[in-house]
Symmetry: C2
Subunit: 385 residues, 2 copies
């Protein structure tokens, strides 16, 4: 589709970074990425962030991060689509290069959630839902996902334990990722005995509140070749949307936007699910991993948990997911997550995933979800020699 | 530069819209624009907004507005660059079309400020400044602009009364604009006797807190021709940034980002200031109008107020500004303002500006400013036959 290549990536470890401010986290990720790209200064910067205006009293992150990174003067803006902000900002970067109106573009996802009270974080996260019809009723994000998970269990006769493999795979992979928040593998037993958060979602069905930043440098493929860089090409970039409110959905379990954005991405790339070697899903909750696998064509409806139970989602399986720990194990700094997913795929395509390496990974896909499936951004990347 | 054309515009009147929610305001503007374009459904929507996450507990406006407009499924995201959000979202739209990755794109700026307390609005607006080094000190936006204005008066020996023509021109033009918030012309005497807000900024140096939405539909020029639409072509789209904090500026009065973004826009369009027939400036405060005129090359440094005193900024002058009332008279719903500026230029280029029409206007420019000049987005549009 496009002639856009990724020539540098960077990330901070995910965790509770009380010692670093928003701009410092962004700078750490960007400085790694730009160094790897071997570039002095990008033409434009797109920052992905969701919560800073509420949790850090800071909007206007584009100019702030550009300046703090030493790039005063460049074009910059923030792109927001709730937890799909990272994917949306990356898409803006791809467009800027693909249009020929920018040459080198930096994308940085950054989020800082742990300096605020959990009440503030919960209500800030609820701004991804429909404020007038859901938020105003006191609905939280975990409770909305609990409604979906309960419906899934009811509709398909799936027990809660069927979701355990998603969490176990994520934590096992995270244990090998030095940038992951949680480095301890878990067992079925740990999963089963976990405290309940919002029935049926327990602690190990949920991703953590955390801080982190990830960054990517983009340029035209021809320029990447001239620079002698290994080519990771952006084959597809597609977004689809659905209602914010769950009550307005056509079908609670279809995840229409995920299906549509995946279909558009496959069409752009001229590929089908069989061609994907690694798939970074948006496992903010285990139910979202199951639905994303189904919507993207890797499992029939109601069979997402089956795929996980069969071991097909591990790095050795048919469709490896959450290979560096996913949102569950690596962490979910919400506005940054979509960029982390892309960095993880790049890590796999470069063969740098260590113990979690997916053998011969050449084509990788990400699906970044905002709200309860209200904005879904799908990207497909390919390693070229 | 690009092959992108504007084929439809829409706007709500600006005011205190307690009877309409955010999504309803956006819908009103978008439905006008899409009807004018004669299109059923765009491929993508970029929403410009700054304050909804804080003032309306609502982020994720892309998907929300897409769905409420009847376009469930399309690509959508929010673009934020403080008060330059409108220009930044329009630029994202231009890129999407220019890259060939989208065909018809809708851009909507929407802001709802009057349902909150003035304390909430003041602190929400302060998120455009540097939270750690300015906001944390209790600095407000009007006080930051007051520092700049005081410096300008001191440096160039300009009296406060020299800024009156900006306000008088804006209010005179707003009186003829049915969508403007203030429809009463003012006099030098009214300006001089206005209550002081933050010395030297008085009530008539400041734009109002208000609600509103404006929308634009973009498509390739060839498609616009096929549709039989009059062509308003996007000749240039350029953003530049500066520090968020005033204390970090190279020169308090240079408005470097405005100068750079204008220079880039002139270069893209192959034009110079002499070619511009109408210039919609970001007169959130009268001082910003003066500095924007200087940075964009219409006046020497310190001569912006002279231009105004000489009557050259009126619709009959050498460089008409704020021709439909500007931020001061029409209103400044912050995240929407950049889109309103573009709609005003389109109105002029189509010859639909009524009593405020700039004779033979063929090329128009907008300059949308975020923070105290921290993000500046310049666009140049041309009417083609």
């Amino acid at each position: 589709m496009t002639n856009v290549a990724i020539i540098g990536v960077g990330q901070t470890a995910i965790g509770e970074h009380w010692e670093f401010s928003l701009r410092e986290l962004a700078f750490q990720a960007l400085s790694q990425a730009i160094k790897e790209a071997g570039i002095e200064r990008p033409d434009a910067l797109f920052v992905a962030n969701m919560l800073a205006p509420r949790l850090s009293d800071q909007a206007h992150l584009g100019a702030l991060v550009a300046d703090y990174s030493g790039w005063r003067g460049i074009e910059a803006a923030t792109v927001e689509a709730a937890c799909a902000s990272g994917g949306a900002a990356f898409q803006a970067g791809v467009r800027a290069v693909a249009s020929g109106l920018a040459q080198v573009v930096a994308v940085c996802g950054v989020e800082k959630m742990t300096d605020a009270t959990s009440e503030s974080v919960t209500s800030a996260l609820a701004t991804a839902a429909d404020a007038d019809f859901e938020g105003a009723q006191g609905v939280t994000f975990v409770s909305l996902n609990a409604l979906i998970m309960r419906r899934y269990m009811h509709e398909y006769g799936v027990p809660h334990a069927a979701f355990a493999p998603f969490s176990i795979n994520a934590h096992r992979n995270a244990a090998n990722n030095p940038n992951a928040m949680f480095r301890q593998p878990i067992t079925d037993d740990v999963y089963a005995r976990a405290p309940m958060i919002a029935d049926p979602i327990n602690l190990y069905d949920s991703s953590p509140v955390c801080d982190g930043a990830a960054a990517i440098i983009l340029c035209p493929v021809e320029m990447a070749r001239d620079l002698g860089k290994p080519i990771i090409r952006v084959l597809a970039s597609a977004t689809a949307t659905d209602s914010l409110a769950l009550a307005d959905r056509r079908d609670l379990l279809a995840l229409d936007a995920a299906r549509q954005s995946a279909a558009r991405a496959y069409a752009q790339a001229g590929l089908s699910p069989q061609d994907i070697d690694v798939f970074e899903v948006h496992d903010a909750f285990t139910i979202m991993a199951a639905l994303s696998l189904e919507a993207a064509g890797f499992a029939e409806r109601g069979q997402g948990t089956r795929l996980a139970l069969d071991g097909e989602i591990t790095p050795q399986g048919r469709i490896p997911i959450s290979t560096m720990g996913g949102l569950k194990g690596r962490g979910h700094p919400v506005g940054a997550t979509g960029v982390y997913e892309l960095v993880d795929v790049v890590t796999q395509l470069r063969g740098e995933a260590g113990a979690n390496q997916v053998k011969d990974a050449a084509i990788g896909m990400t699906q970044n979800i905002g709200g309860t499936g209200s904005t879904v951004v799908t990207h497909i990347l390919r390693r070229e020699n």
